[in-house]
Symmetry: C2
Subunit: 214 residues, 2 copies
DNA sequence: CCCATAAGCGGATTTGTGTCCACTTTTTAG
DNA sequence: CTAAAAAGTGGACACAAATCCGCTTATGGG
C-alpha cells in the first residue's frame, strides 16, 4: 500500500494562493455525480474506480488526483448527503431552543435522528468505513467528527444547565454513546442481531440518561 | 472482488467424511507460524501473502486454500492468541465463583480484562477487522462472538441472582457495552482521543452498572 | 499391496486499487 | 496580448490480493 498521493494534492489546494481551476471543479462535480449514480445502481463494491472514471468522462489520474482512494470518494459522497441532514438537525435544534426543551431531550432527539440517518445510509457508510486505506480514517473524517462534536456539545450544555452532573468526563460519555453508531457495529446490531430502529433509539436515549447521571 | 473460495474449502472440511490430511495440517501450522512471525516483525500491512507463503515454504494456492483472505489469516492468528486469554478468563471466573463474588463485579472484571487484551493486541485486531473482505465478517468471527456470549452470560446471571432488573434486554445491553471494544472504535478512543486503559475500564464498568440498573 | 478417490498443491494469471510523469490547459501578471 | 508558472490531465504501468486448474499426493477400502 503506497503513500496516499491525495495528501499532496490536498496540501497543494490548501497552501496554494489560487482558487480551484474551473475545469478541475467541473471534473470533481462530474466524478461525484457518476459515483453517486453507479454506487446507487450496483453497490459500492461492484463498481470499480475505472467504472467511475469512465462514467465521469475523465482519466484515472484525474479521478485519483481528486479522491486518493475509493474510500475517500465514498466519504466525499457521504459528506454531501449529510448536508441536508445537518441543516435539518440545526433547524430542529433551533426550534427546540425556542421552546426551551431540556438539553437531554435534545440529545435524545439527536441520537434518534442519527440512528435513522445511519440506517438509511448504511451501504455508503459501511463502504466508506471499509474502503479507506487506513483503519482510523473513517472516524477521523468530517461527517463522524460533526456527529461527535454535536453529541459532546449537547452534553456540555446539559451539564451547564444543571441537568446532569458536571464532574463527568463528557467527552468520553459522548464517545461511548456514539460507539454503537460505528457502521460495522451498527450493521451488526440492526441487520445481524435484529434490533429495530426503535429499540436502538430507545437504548441510546436510555444510555445517555444513565451514563450522564451515574 | 471475487467470491471467497475458502467457503467451498470450509464446507468440504465440514461435510467430508475424512479427517484433515497430515500434509495439510502441517502446512496450516507452518503458515500460521510464518504469518505470526512476519506480522510481528513488520506489521500486517507490510507483509504480503506471497511473503507468508514463501516463509512457510508453500505455494500461494495452498495458502489461499486454507485462508481465503488476508483478513481470515489474521482472524485465525487472533483466535490462537486468544486461547490463553480465554483459559485465563475461565480460570479467574471459576475462582470468583468459589468466593461468591457478585456477578456484576465479575462482569466488571471481565470488561477490564478485555480492555487490556484489546490494548495489547490492537495491531492484529485492527488488521483483522480491516482486511476481511466483507465488513461484517469481523464481528461475526469466533473471537468476538466469545466475548459477546460471555458478557451477555454474565449479565443474565446477574439478573438471575437479583443483582439487576430482569426485564432488561440484556442482549442489547451486552452489545452496547462491547461496542467501544470494536477495534476501530477502541483505537480511536485509546490512541487518538487519549483515554487511558484505566479510564476506559472504569467507563465500561460504570456503563455496565448504569445500563443494567436504568 | 494396489487402486480409486478426494484432498491438496503451486505458480502463472487475473483483477482492481493505486502510481507515475510527460504533456496539456488554465490562470495571472506584466 | 503574451509568457511563465502552476494546476491539472490520462493511460500505461506497478503491485498485492486473490483465482484458476492441471497435476500430485495422501488416505482408506478391498
Amino acid at each position: 500500500m503506497r503513500r496516499a498521493r491525495g495528501e499532496a494534492a490536498t496540501l497543494t489546494l490548501v497552501t496554494g494562493g489560487r482558487t480551484e481551476r474551473a475545469d478541475a471543479a467541473a471534473n470533481r462535480r462530474r466524478i461525484l455525480e457518476a459515483a453517486a449514480r453507479l454506487f446507487a445502481e450496483r453497490g459500492v463494491e461492484r463498481v470499480t474506480m475505472v467504472d467511475v472514471a469512465r462514467a465521469a468522462g475523465v482519466g484515472q489520474g484525474t479521478l485519483y488526483r481528486r479522491f486518493p482512494s475509493k474510500g475517500a470518494l465514498c466519504l466525499a459522497l457521504l459528506d454531501e448527503q449529510m448536508r441536508d441532514f445537518q441543516a435539518m438537525v440545526l433547524s430542529q435544534l433551533s426550534a427546540m431552543a425556542q421552546e426551551n426543551v431540556p438539553w437531554m431531550d435534545r440529545l435524545g432527539w439527536f441520537l434518534e435522528a442519527l440512528v435513522h440517518f445511519h440506517a438509511t445510509h448504511i451501504p455508503l457508510l459501511s463502504a466508506a468505513q471499509h474502503e479507506v486505506p487506513q483503519p482510523e480514517e473513517f472516524i477521523a473524517s468530517a461527517p463522524f467528527h460533526w456527529e461527535r462534536m454535536t453529541v459532546i456539545g449537547l452534553l456540555r450544555e446539559a451539564a451547564r444547565h444543571g441537568e446532569i452532573a458536571p464532574a463527568q468526563d463528557l467527552r468520553l460519555i459522548g464517545d461511548l454513546l456514539l460507539a454503537p453508531l460505528h457502521p460495522e457495529v451498527f450493521y451488526f446490531l440492526h441487520a445481524s442481531s435484529g434490533y429495530t430502529l426503535e429499540q436502538l433509539s430507545a437504548a441510546l436515549r436510555a444510555s445517555a440518561l444513565a451514563l450522564a447521571r451515574a
